[in-house]
């Protein structure tokens, strides 16, 4: 379902799965509930808002990603509960000089170049997090 996830994100929608058994959310989608393992899931649009739990400024990148450094990988806890991974849309210096954990963010998509080993060869869709005022 990752293609649909990325395509929706490009259209401004973050999709996830809501469990009809335990009520919790799984995002990005997975074939079983991340909390109770049920397969009784329905596709939903998530709020796309959350808070930064942790992040790192990456200075040494793998082959294929060198031109993107420094970039900031972050884990964000969505309003609905699940944590997602993406990049913080701020300057590296701002992320180094300030504690951005617990800051409110919203998610959007950026298109980046593909690389030889990535499943999508022509491009990568990267979830980015924008700081909310």
């Amino acid at each position: 379902m990752f293609l649909e996830f990325f395509k929706s994100l490009q259209e401004g929608k973050l999709i996830g799965m809501k469990c009809k058994d335990c009520g919790s959310y799984t995002c990005p989608p997975k074939q079983s509930c991340n909390k109770c393992s049920s397969r009784n899931l329905e596709k939903v649009t998530m709020s796309g808002r959350g808070i930064v739990k942790t992040y790192t400024v990456t200075y040494v990148a793998p082959m294929g990603y060198e031109k993107e450094v420094p970039y900031i990988v972050a884990l964000v806890e969505l309003e609905e509960g699940p944590w997602i991974i993406g990049r913080l849309d701020v300057e590296a210096k701002i992320a180094e000089d300030n504690d951005l954990t617990e800051k409110r963010v919203s998610v959007f998509a950026k298109e980046m170049p593909g690389e030889i080993f990535y499943p999508l060869k022509d491009k990568r869709i990267v979830p980015y997090f924008r700081l909310e005022g």
């Binding site: 990456t58 793998p62 990988v73 884990l75 991974i85 499943p119």
Partner: protein, 392 residues
């Protein structure tokens, strides 16, 4: 019937551009065979760990080639891949096969060539162990995984980031001190008198982790020979027994949410190993843990049950995990000081544990070492294996 380790071997860890993956395994194997004092024909199968031979050397399907290289023609040979835990996964499977009676005696080992591959290929190769879709598109690397964990550890346990950086730097200082003493280590004779400031001031890789918070890229091989108790007693004066093993798995880092600093799969694997060995953490004389990064050693010691969550950083800074502390950790230098040839790392931990228990680790011997535990992590808590070894 119990299973024992009867022979161990490993190459010097470091840079070996002149040797193939097969050569590195074979070199370790000859040392193990010599150590075990048995004949080649006694070995019935090969359990081989390798992570990214495809990417570093353009070679997969290596098990048959390594078996053939050492002259074990037509023996069953299997490659195991569990990222950085590959050869410990192989070890556990081999132990189970011998225990079940399928084999009397087998060899387990691994090989990897990351240093010779260069930083760009090496970093990409290592990153194949993260979630290949969602984590990879964000450019998550392994230093990145543990940098995310480090910052969260500080927040969760209310430790200012700079204070945490200083405390975890002691892991690097300690493991480099021991690595510098170990003739098989990548940094033998180097960085033995590292200071906390050196770690803090070295090149930033993924903030807050610097180069000296990270283990190096390494080429190397390791091999151990295991046998059932009867055969072990026939051929070996000092068999070291496998008292317990445990293994567990986990999904993508982001799906582990708040547990990214608790390493739940490791907690489960360690509990499984302790239960099988019928011992508790207090009974363990020393441990070999997967210190791929400084913070990784802290998280490992807590998840395995040696320290409460949020406290191993203080204990480490106070010297509890040093050779003269209550629980020596990584007396061979660990991944940071000894090096981390991924597929060979797990059985090199077994190598150290066995040498220590036999009293043969003369350059940094743990006093009265009778029970050791090893811990190997593959991926971002994706594959966790713990092994407890000991003598009667």
């Amino acid at each position: 019937m119990r299973v024992a380790v009867i022979g161990v071997g490993m190459t010097r860890f470091g840079k070996h551009p002149e040797k193939s993956l097969v050569d590195l395994f074979a070199e370790a194997f000859w040392e193990a065979l010599n150590d075990a004092n048995i004949e080649l024909k006694d070995i019935e199968a090969v359990y081989f760990g390798n992570f990214v031979g495809e990417l570093t050397d353009g070679s997969a399907n290596l098990s048959g080639f390594v078996a053939d290289e050492i002259g074990l023609k037509n023996a069953p040979a299997i490659r195991y891949e569990g990222a950085c835990a590959s050869s410990t996964v192989a070890f556990r499977e081999a132990v189970r096969a011998v225990k079940a009676g399928y084999h009397k005696c087998v060899v387990v080992g691994g090989a990897e060539k990351l240093l010779s591959a260069g930083t760009a290929i090496g970093t990409r190769a290592l990153a194949t162990a993260v979630d290949g879709i969602y984590e990879m598109t964000a450019g998550l690397t392994f230093p990145g995984v543990f940098a995310l964990a480090a910052r969260y550890y500080g927040k969760k346990y209310e430790i200012p980031l700079q204070k945490l950086r200083e405390m975890i730097a002691y892991v690097s200082v300690k493991n480099h001190r021991y690595g510098a003493m170990n003739p098989k280590a990548q940094f033998y004779g180097k960085y033995g008198d590292l200071k906390v400031e050196d770690v803090l001031n070295s090149k930033m890789i993924c903030s807050p982790l610097t180069l000296l918070d990270c283990c190096p890229m390494t080429d190397g091989g390791s091999a151990v020979i295991i046998a059932n108790e009867k055969f072990a007693k026939d051929v070996c004066d000092k068999p070291v027994y496998v008292l317990g093993t445990g293994q567990a798995s986990g999904g993508s880092l982001f799906r582990q949410e708040d547990d990214i600093i608790k390493a739940i799969p490791r907690k489960k694997a360690a509990e499984m190993a302790f239960k099988e060995a019928k011992i508790t953490p207090k009974d363990v004389d020393f441990v070999e843990v997967h210190d791929c990064f400084t913070i990784a050693e802290i998280i490992a010691l807590e998840a395995m049950g040696f320290f409460d969550y949020g406290t191993a950083c203080y204990a480490t800074a106070e010297g509890v995990t040093s050779m003269d502390g209550d629980l020596p950790v990584n007396p061979d230098g660990g991944l940071i000081g000894k090096g981390h040839p991924v597929g060979a790392t797990g059985t090199s931990q077994i190598y150290t544990a066995v040498k220590q228990i036999r009293g043969e680790f003369k350059w940094n011997q743990v006093k009265n070492a009778r029970i050791a535990m090893t811990d190997t992590l593959g991926g971002d808590f994706g594959t966790l294996v713990n092994v407890i070894l000991g003598v009667d």
